[in-house]
Symmetry: C2
Subunit: 362 residues, 2 copies
């Protein structure tokens, strides 16, 4: 078992990475204190892991299990209300702990529910998808979607601990695994060029889900994320680099309706678009764009936005993105491989050219 620490003063917490962690009674006892527990999962993950987690939690006075329908489209205010209804009906007090057992959707909505229930109760992340293990479970971003924009309603709210059980990846469908690899690649691109080169070499092992490769990829990803979050918890500046590809990606997700494209898929295409723009500005070599595109294809990730989207629609949706500050669109680009930069000087014509390039290819 490896342990990393997210350094946030009184809100610091550990990330554990290892085998069979969700059945580790001692670890759970250490981080799920108190007698009341709410386990939130979904109808895909719960049949696989809920019983083991529940058994490992031991005897508790009050345990409420909430099984959501699986899918990004359920990361909504309506689902949030259902959670509050259940937790209030069962009379959970302010000393309850909410446990998120599932992927990013479960983690985001559980974290936000924990942030708001009685103005904040403890929560623990047990992410079961690669994407949530390397990204959404770490850093305290919680949210639900709104019909007018993704993750628009949420909170910065840190968990008590993150328990990454790499064995849960064995049951992950290939498409979701690939979506997680997109975020792993992101860390290489934005802050760790040697890790990116390692990924280029080791991708076959990672795709074969070899344990050593998985553990290494997850740990290096989490280390990068933990470092960025520690430096800028509430995204005053630096943290925004974690959004490489996300502004384009969110536009795709919003246009398609939540749940049609996976988040990681949209981000993969978005990162490719951001790299293309970076190459057009002369910051990275054009060969790197091609190399990244080849890598995405090898992972079976999309390299083009949906063909029915138009540049105008893209710009419109991007203008609603959270990364707009005082009317200026902010984009994360690469100044070099392993070094991200935030720009707010992209012109409409520069973006339209880029979008036409990708949409024509689509």
């Amino acid at each position: 078992m490896h342990k990393l620490q997210v350094e946030l003063g009184e809100r610091s917490y550990p990330i554990y990475i290892g085998r069979e962690l969700l059945a580790d009674s001692a670890l759970l006892a250490e981080h799920v204190v108190g007698t009341q527990v709410v386990i939130i999962s979904n109808d895909t993950v719960a049949p696989l892991y809920l019983d083991r987690l529940r058994a490992a939690l031991g005897e508790r006075e009050l345990v409420t299990e909430i099984i959501l329908a699986d899918g990004e489209q359920f990361k909504s205010m309506d689902t949030l209300n259902e959670i509050f209804d259940r937790v209030l009906t069962d009379r959970h007090s302010r000393s309850t702990t909410m446990i998120a057992l599932g992927g990013g959707v479960v983690g985001d909505i559980t974290g936000f529910a924990a942030a708001c229930y009685q103005r904040g109760v403890k929560f623990v992340q047990v992410p079961t998808t690669l994407l949530s293990q390397v990204d959404s479970s770490v850093g305290g971003k919680t949210a639900v979607n709104h019909p007018l924009g993704k993750n628009m309603i949420g909170a910065f709210y840190q968990p008590q601990a993150v328990l990454i059980d790499i064995n849960t990846l064995s049951s992950l469908p290939s498409r979701e695994f690939a979506a997680g690899v997109a975020e792993v690649l992101k860390y290489g691109l934005i802050c760790d060029a040697p890790f990116y080169r390692w990924l280029q070499e080791q991708m076959p092992k990672l795709l074969a889900r070899e344990e050593a490769a998985l553990a290494e990829a997850i740990e290096r990803s989490c280390a990068c994320k933990a470092e960025v979050v520690a430096a800028d918890e509430r995204e005053g500046g630096l943290r925004a680099i974690l959004n490489l590809g996300h502004t384009f990606g969110h536009a795709i997700e919003t246009a398609q309706g939540y749940g049609n494209w996976l988040h990681g898929e949209a981000v993969a295409t978005g990162m490719l678009m951001a790299m293309e723009l970076s190459a057009r500005r002369g910051w990275i070599d054009r060969e790197e764009v091609k190399g990244f595109r080849d890598l995405l294809l090898a992972v079976n990730l999309p390299v083009r936005p949906p063909s029915e989207m138009t540049p105008g629609q893209f710009l419109d949706l991007m203008g609603r993105d959270k990364k707009v500050l005082d009317g200026r669109l902010r984009l994360v680009l690469l100044k070099s491989m392993g070094e991200a930069v935030i720009v707010d000087d992209a012109t409409e014509s520069e973006l339209t050219d880029l979008l036409e390039h990708f949409l024509k290819a689509a």
Copy 2:
């Protein structure tokens, strides 16, 4: 103009108390930075003050006015969703500032909307009722109600500043003014016995809304609140003393449906019940209970819970209160005049006796 500071490290902020503050352009310019503003008010307050506030804000790129229906029953998730719909439709960015112009309901829901919109935007409190000026606008408690409990969904989220314009009290209906006096009395009871004696003496001037008496009462109340909040922002312990009368009061509000009893009215009766219990324990003199009851009658505040409530209903609703920790009901009582204490050892029979006493009298 008087200025107090709520000391919360990087979340510190000033409280201003004075005349015509909502038309003070310089003060607003100092605390409402950026070009985007959302003003949230209600249909009672907006016709009286919104134009002046808006004029004092000067030219801004984007101003959205959201006028809610007046009343506690609109402090709901539905209203919150309406706010998000409007703010997203108008495309407010993360750098917007939300201004709460109104009483506690407007302040609580605006603060919670600001806490959640894009995971947190700036907000400024411009409270226009006595209750919100001395209580809910200070300290960062934000929330909406749930059918199963008051303030169950919310956040601790501090404003940028609180602007208390005492002139707005001239338009406040007597019943609401009295409800605010209940919270003013609370501060005397829990942390400032000399202030309580002052209130006993000066009540006629306060009820006549003499400016000097108002400013003094508000400032001493805010000073007490600021001190308690600075010591315990997230209600780990001490801050709970601000809930004197609230556990009984919330039960009344929930039983009656939000909006039938004013919050201050329910708290007034709840404080009398807490004082009676304190006297039964021998902590305060029985004469003090009688004196407080006379004071409530002089202010025209209720001294009995609704006659149709039963002890069982009370206990049931109190068991759902946020102040329950691991199944034990916590109550704020008075150890002496001006000194509050939190107890968790009230027995069911002690409470039933107390409730029967009050309900028999009702």
